[in-house]
């Protein structure tokens, strides 16, 4: 019971911090809207299998007699070449895109953050080696490495996720390393050294918590970019494979019917646009909120 009382006391200042963030959030209309959209998308991703009108169309089911029908009250977005309801498939696609993106970004963070923290905090040879490797990975134009890796690993959604994680981690490493280098000279780090705290503890309880916010911002902005990359890879044939209702894949398939069935290409594209836009706006807004200069005022 004493423990509970204590933890609520410890929580107070952190709650105050959170309240401050929310205050800043409230002042920014665009960010608020994008936050709601993102939350909505997440909810949609979770519940979609249960709410879409034709759940079997999102998986293996086909419906050949209703193929390529324009939008109607029965099929809101029309049907595709196998008669499947595009509306259901587009909604279900949210689940796929968000899931894969989350895994890809999460994996990239898991690799990138420790590498960058160690490189920046320790310096010396370790820093040089890690940075050279990072530089090499960053020398590939965006997307190119993902294309190369996933074409080698074999076209599948998992491999696309891996390929993206492998292409993305260097950005976080570089970001954290830059922060760590400047934080290393701060007096509270020197104070910890003078106290005798072990180097690992210094890195992970002093340095990392103080440079995590730019990374969070970057990661949430990257969600948009990653979703776009997944769609692009699937469009090229390297990511999701049929019959998975992935947006990029759907647009690719729609090319064959492009002149006659406009609905097939349009709606998945709109879905991508709205999702990526929402994440980008959110990331942008988060950056402003977490920017120490704005917080000082």
């Amino acid at each position: 019971m004493y423990r509970n009382f204590l933890s609520s006391k410890a929580l107070q200042p952190r709650i105050k911090e959170l309240k401050f963030s929310f205050y800043l959030l409230k002042r920014n209309q665009l960010t608020k809207i994008s936050l709601f959209i993102v939350l909505g998308l997440i909810i949609l991703a979770i519940i979609s299998p249960y709410v879409i009108p034709y759940p079997e169309h999102a998986q293996m089911g086909t419906n050949p007699q209703d193929k390529l029908l324009p939008p109607s009250s029965q099929y809101f977005f029309g049907t595709d070449e196998l008669g499947r309801d595009i509306f259901s498939r587009v909604l279900y696609g949210t689940r796929i895109s968000l899931n894969t993106a989350l895994l890809a970004v999460g994996l990239a963070l898991l690799i990138g953050i420790p590498l960058g923290a160690i490189a920046g905090s320790i310096g010396g040879y370790i820093d040089e080696i890690i940075m050279r490797i990072t530089d090499i990975f960053l020398s590939f134009p965006p997307l190119l490495l993902a294309i190369a890796i996933s074409s080698i690993l074999g076209p599948s959604l998992q491999n696309a996720m891996l390929a993206i994680a492998i292409s993305w981690w260097p950005w976080y490493t570089r970001l954290i390393r830059g922060q760590a280098i400047s934080l290393k000279e701060r007096q509270f780090v020197k104070a910890a050294e003078a106290i005798g705290t072990s180097p690992i503890k210094i890195i992970f309880s002093h340095i990392v918590p103080n440079c995590i916010s730019p990374v969070i911002v970057q990661a949430s902005m990257d969600m948009g970019g990653v979703i776009l990359t997944i769609a692009s890879l699937s469009f090229l044939g390297l990511g999701a494979q049929p019959p998975t209702p992935e947006w990029g894949l759907m647009i690719n398939t729609s090319r064959n019917y492009f002149l006659n069935a406009w609905w097939y290409s349009i709606f998945p594209g709109i879905a991508i646009f709205i999702t990526v836009l929402a994440f980008n706006l959110l990331g942008d807004g988060l950056r402003e909120i977490l920017d120490p200069k704005t917080r000082k005022n």
């Binding site: 004493y2 204590l6 006391k9 410890a10 107070q12 200042p13 911090e17 401050f20 205050y23 800043l24 040089e128 701060r186 007096q187 509270f188 020197k190 104070a191 910890a192 050294e193 003078a194 106290i195 005798g196 705290t197 072990s198 309880s205 002093h206 918590p209 103080n210 917080r295 005022n297």
Partner: protein, 603 residues
Amino acid sequence: MQSYFEIKNLKINYNTFEGKKNILDIEHLKIEKGKTYGLVGESGAGKTVLALTILGLLATPPGEIESGQIYFDGEELLSKKEEEMRHIRGKKIAMIFQDPMSSLNPVFTVGYQMRQIIMKNQNVKEKEADKIELKMIETVKLPDAENIMTKYPHQLSGGQRQRIIIAMALSCGAEMLIADEPTRNLDVTIQAGILKLLKELQEKLKVTVLFIANNLGLVSAICDEIGILYKGKIIESGKVKEILNHPKQPYTCTLIDAAVQNESIQQNKKETRGKVILEVQDLKKHFPVNKGFFSKPAAWVKAVDGVDLKLYEGEVLGIVGESGCGKSTLVSTILNLQQPTSGKVIFDGKDMYALDKRDLRRTRKNIQIVFQDPFWSLNPRMLVKDIIGEPIKVHEKNGTEELIERTESLLEMVGLPKEGVFKYPHEFSGGQRQRIAIARALAVNPKLVVLDEPTSSIDILSQTQILELLEELKEKLKLTYILISHDLSVVNSMSDKIAVMYLGKVVEYGYSKDVFHQPRHPYTKALFNAIPDLHMEGVEGLVSLEGNVPSAINPPSGCRFHTRCPLAQEICSVKEPEMVNLGNQHSVSCHFSEMNGPEAKSS
């Protein structure tokens, strides 16, 4: 009839998270033409905000001018439009900024930047502007003007940059100058030179000056009238002599106390007895320059180049010196936060550099350090209890509840309420944060505490409190201190012994009263005489040193100080002087130490 320059009822606010905060509330301020007015107050946003507001450069999203008028030469400035203000800026009113490094554009040469100003304000073409520029640089006493013009800001020293900023402001040809803490980041000896220059220019060019400072000593030397700014309001103003001799407000009295030199709080200083707790033998720390990945370093920065010290238990050793003298490096090397290049440090009988990892860790328990920057010396993302508790967690095993109790009592020991353990550092003021840092240093009962510029970054009121607290804790807990500061009054009020450093070496060492009242080394003399004293008349008594501090990569041969020493002779550039003991542990390293009679500091 309005004065030449007059401010009436100026109210400026800032919009923050917690609502509107009032920054300035000036009822009345007036300056007659040709006079110098000094505005003195704490380091804070208020004074610069005023300067920017006068020029119409205040950023108005967060800032807000609620009301007020500023009259200049018959015109009201706050009601002017942007285009009209552009005619005032430069030509009529020019500003000398506080930090020359950030107010000079880093990608253009200083020559180019000055040329632009001259061409705009004096309406001349480039060739003509060049000539005027050379003259301006000479006016601020910078030698080798042609060369300076081709340099980028980061290639100049702090003192040179400051003079360039002054030259730039002057080259606008303005009638009125606003000098915003123009000597803030400069060494004392260089500051003296700038003050003298400002006084000279003011007399020659007959400009009106608004001089903003955070220290009464500075303004008293060159101003006619002063105003004391406290919490945004001018609480006292009038002629300099009046205020200094008959201050009415308690805050003014505090400022006066802080500016006055050589108060001997020395009465209770006893001669040291007891054992030697720290001994430093010929300590050297050299940093490599231009170390390529595989190549050998091109040169070495000799930050600490042979320092010997002896510290007795219960003693306070003050280390003074200006920027680049190596005092911070000395301390971090003594603490083994950096590997020494050579030399020995014996703490409590143990050779610091011969200890293995575990023993070193245990020794750390006994030496703790309080840093200068109250903002960044505490992890902003940690609660105070974890900050203070970190040494306890590292060196002792304690349960959570015990830890909290200990941190609470530590916090109370430094005079803060114990509820503070559950707060974040940013919820405290600068002075309070410094107390937290002290509590952290004392958490595991050290024997020696190093105080690295403990009061440099906090306001004047808190400074006295912190120093008193430190004195109290020293007596109570039987501590030994090493106190580093560039602020001589701080060092003087607390230290038993003083060591003066210049360019990596100790040039003078001894009991405070000896070193302070009878400095024997020319550098020490210059240092102590460079600070404007309130009882001084004008700036003639100030001692400024010619030239800049030489580079530590290539220190001068023989005695390092000989390039700037007024007493230098041939032998000084050839042979390095030994530390000579003049009696009573007072040692000096100068060839002419015997001949420097006891010249006490004037006062």
